[in-house]
Amino acid sequence: MTQDLEVGTGFEVSTANLRALGVTDPYSAASLQAYKSGALSSDERLYFTLWGSRVLKAVVFDAKRRVVQAGHPVHAAYFIVSGKLLAVEGKKVHRIGPGGVIGVAEAVAGLPYGKSYVTVEAVEARVVDVSSIAAMLRQCPAGLRGLIRTITMRTLGIKEIPEVLK
């Protein structure tokens, strides 16, 4: 990193706010009650369901480690449970915390990683399986494929429909 880096807007789901609302883990009755109360924002609700997903494997990255490199083919996608990272795109850097997601939209679109991600401290994440994504998308009903196409294109800011989503 150089002195020329520009700090952009960061992103995180506030786990302190979740704890204040009674969400202390993804499985307890108290957490589920808080989830059903309607007090959680959309991002907090997504964080909660992904945190508790039983189909995602856990992984831990040490501090000051490059998780993915911009421009490289997507080899894995991650959902951040805890810890801090920096997302680096050119000279712009963003602080990313819990709730951050790496590589899913790129995997769907068949594009390389758009940003590099480097851990600031130890990071706990979940691996989002993108290994068979093309086959899965081909088998998806048209409605769901259209939904995935819309979200992917908005996320990446692309105008051309990815081949796998046509």
Binding site: V7, G8, T9, G10, F11, Y35, K36, G38, L40, S42, D43, R45, L46, Y47, T49, L50, S53, V55, L56, A77, F79, A87, H94, I96, G99, G100, V101, I102, V104, A105, V108, V128, D129, V130, I133, M136, Q139, C140, P141, A142, G143, L144, G146, L147, I148, R149, T150, I151, T152, R154, T155, L156, G157
Partner: protein, 116 residues
């Protein structure tokens, strides 16, 4: 998709407001819809044919984060949260977390695009 409810919305009419329960996903078949910021009312996106809006319906109990207004006369397919959940249940178990992660990544990228 053709089995879902079809709706025609007149130009200028609201489709949903920020703060409403997010219980329906919409797919635009014809026309254009403007998405407006809840706080400022500024238009931040336009959604056209083949695109969807209201993805919050994927997360039961969610609320709308923006207001949607028909920029032109619009033809829509409506998919209720229950129909969407039913559709999801019939897919491979890894699709749901993938879609949820994709929505969260969209939220993250939207935040990163805002001025610091």
């Amino acid at each position: 998709m053709s089995d879902f409810n079809k709706q025609t919305v007149a130009q200028g009419d609201l489709i949903f407001k920020a703060g409403d329960p997010a219980n329906t996903l919409f797919v635009v078949q014809a026309g254009e819809i403007e998405l407006m910021d809840a706080a400022s009312g500024a238009v931040f996106a336009t959604v056209g044919a083949g695109q969807s809006l209201g993805e919050q319906a994927l997360v039961p109990g969610g609320i709308r984060g923006a207001t949607a207004r028909a920029k032109t006369e619009v033809q829509l397919l409506q998919i209720t949260a229950a129909e969407l959940q039913d559709l999801m249940e019939k897919q491979t178990p890894v699709l749901r977390p993938l879609l949820e992660a994709l929505m969260l990544q969209q939220s993250m990228h939207n935040a990163m695009r805002r001025p610091a």
